[in-house]
Symmetry: C2
Subunit: 334 residues, 2 copies
């Protein structure tokens, strides 16, 4: 594609959805010239038109089958109904492993995808975790610059994707299905620790009493966790929603707003955004250093020396020193 | 310390324990000159005296309280009683988080620590995971060169340490305590997938029937896992042992030997060692590239640009490009 950065910038600031789409495609590209342009675009948009545009970035995770698409359709529709503009992005670093489940699938969010105040972007098809995270963070920044009030960043409960999404979110919502109390342990401890609000979905019909028990179980479990400085009294909390019957959505949104207000007033919002910016800076630097292995010369040397190591002709440390010397990179320290 | 690599090499090959201890201290050092000497030593020992010395490397994991020290005392003592030489190393990348539990604690392995055919090395006090893993792998190579028949590599069930230990082990043993069936889910799925043998410890006294149930539960769970090419019929398997009553140790060792024999005969031993060597080569290279951030100049630039990013004066990608340019490293690709 031929790319005019200034034109893209103007389009995004005006809220032109086609410009936003094209810009996200640009930040998702792995071509070095595209990457350079993308970085310039994000930098330019940072201070565009002098307005401090900050969306509420909500990370949303849940295992397949929990009803994420239906929830987003209902929750997003409620927000646009209140005049808010909503963007939905997906981070799916493990598309190979999750068996091809598509996040941000527009066919499953039929109403929202036709809503003029909503923007849905399916997950990019890349598979490299570090890369996907960095690109998604920039896509979030583009949506923010485009004036969206809420950016929903959807992921599945597989591998490290929650941690990556938490590093680009202002608050993190875990969506769960009703279940017996014995399944409490199935939720990874790490996720419980980053969740701000746990929503028990499918609190309707036959599942209503199971949802109620699950909600009580998780409320109890959350009380056992150590208190975090970024939480006001009563948070993190578990609540029930029904995407199907469209109930519990407004209370959930109310709690998100209350939590956000408290964090803004107590300095936690800014502190978290600053810490996240530092984190992504470190990631960019680390990926930049590791990209020295991406040249054809480095790949060939990795292959040749890797074979020598595998066959026992040399040791990992000695071979690594030779590789770093050959590609003229790195300070070898064994 | 003043270091004579050739002397250390001769001492290790002769089985001199003081030489081995000093060499392990050398590979654990982070000083660049020590690192270079350590790499030379490991390389020199690789082909020392023309003998192909391969120890059986057994990774051993278990949460605190499961009775690891008592097990190692009993199991190690049984092996030395059969004329085998046994080394015990510890990998504890998370000493800060595990609340100061010491691995390879000699006071808890009183008999074994005084056994002339045993060598016990407590965990190094470093906290950097990548570093600890690489150093431990070299310590294993030193023990192998020193003629030990079995190297036990002990770790705790915290974080990523099992994966690191599995990457330097020929077989992996998970030690568990008897428990109700509902605690089955408490074991991380990832560990179940790398375990070759699960030992239910404390199968004695009042806990005997609980141990029997736990063993049956895990036997069932293991059968549900996908079969791996490196496993003969019946593996991975769960068995009961009692470190206290010293029962089940010989059957467990018999299974380890049977598994090892099958893997050796079917090419899996060599294939795994080759794959592990490649893995550690890659780790050495990655750590070498990232070590470009360890210079005072790089640290200062990280601090300065990190602050600019945190304050929103620039974006992570732009700041990363500037950092990589300043330290003259990396191929920036955003």
């Amino acid at each position: 594609m031929s790319i005019d950065i200034a034109q893209l910038e103007r389009g995004i600031v005006k809220g032109d959805r086609r410009a936003l789409s094209r810009a996200i495609t640009l930040v998702e590209s792995t071509r070095p010239d595209h990457r350079a342009m993308a970085a310039e675009l994000v930098e330019a948009l940072k201070g565009a038109d002098g307005v401090d545009r900050q969306a509420l970035r909500i990370g949303l995770s849940g295992t397949p089958g929990v009803g994420k698409s239906t929830f987003i359709e209902g929750f997003g529709g409620m927000l646009t109904g209140q005049g808010l503009r909503v963007a939905v992005l997906a981070v799916d670093p493990s598309s190979a492993r999750s068996g091809g489940s598509i996040l941000g699938d527009k066919t499953r969010m039929d109403r929202l995808s036709r809503d003029p105040n909503a923007f849905i972007r399916p997950s990019p098809s890349q598979t490299h975790l570090g890369g996907v995270g960095r690109r998604s963070r920039e896509a979030v920044a583009l949506c923010e610059a485009a004036g969206f009030d809420v950016v929903l960043i959807e992921t599945v409960g597989v591998g490290q994707s929650e941690t990556v999404v938490a590093e680009m979110s202002d608050l993190f919502v875990l969506l769960l299905a009703p279940a017996g109390g014995d399944e409490l342990q199935g939720v990874k401890r790490g996720i419980m620790e980053i969740a701000d609000i746990i929503l028990i979905n499918k609190a309707d019909g036959d599942l209503k009493s199971a949802a109620s028990r699950t909600c009580a179980d998780y409320s109890g479990a959350l009380r056992l966790l150590r208190k975090r400085p970024q939480d006001p009294e009563g948070f993190p909390k578990a609540m029930m929603v029904s995407a199907l019957e469209d109930t519990g959505m407004q209370p959930a949104w109310g709690e998100m707003q209350a939590l956000t207000k408290w964090r803004r007033e107590n300095g936690h919002w800014d502190a978290r955004r600053a810490a996240q910016a530092r984190y992504w800076f470190g990631e960019e630097v680390r990926q930049g250093l590791l990209s020295q292995l991406a040249t054809p010369e480095a790949r060939a040397a990795m292959e040749e020396l890797g074979a020598a190591v595998a066959e026992g002709r040399t040791t990992p440390a000695i071979a690594a020193r030779e590789l770093l010397e050959r590609i003229g990179a790195g300070v070898w320290n064994g």
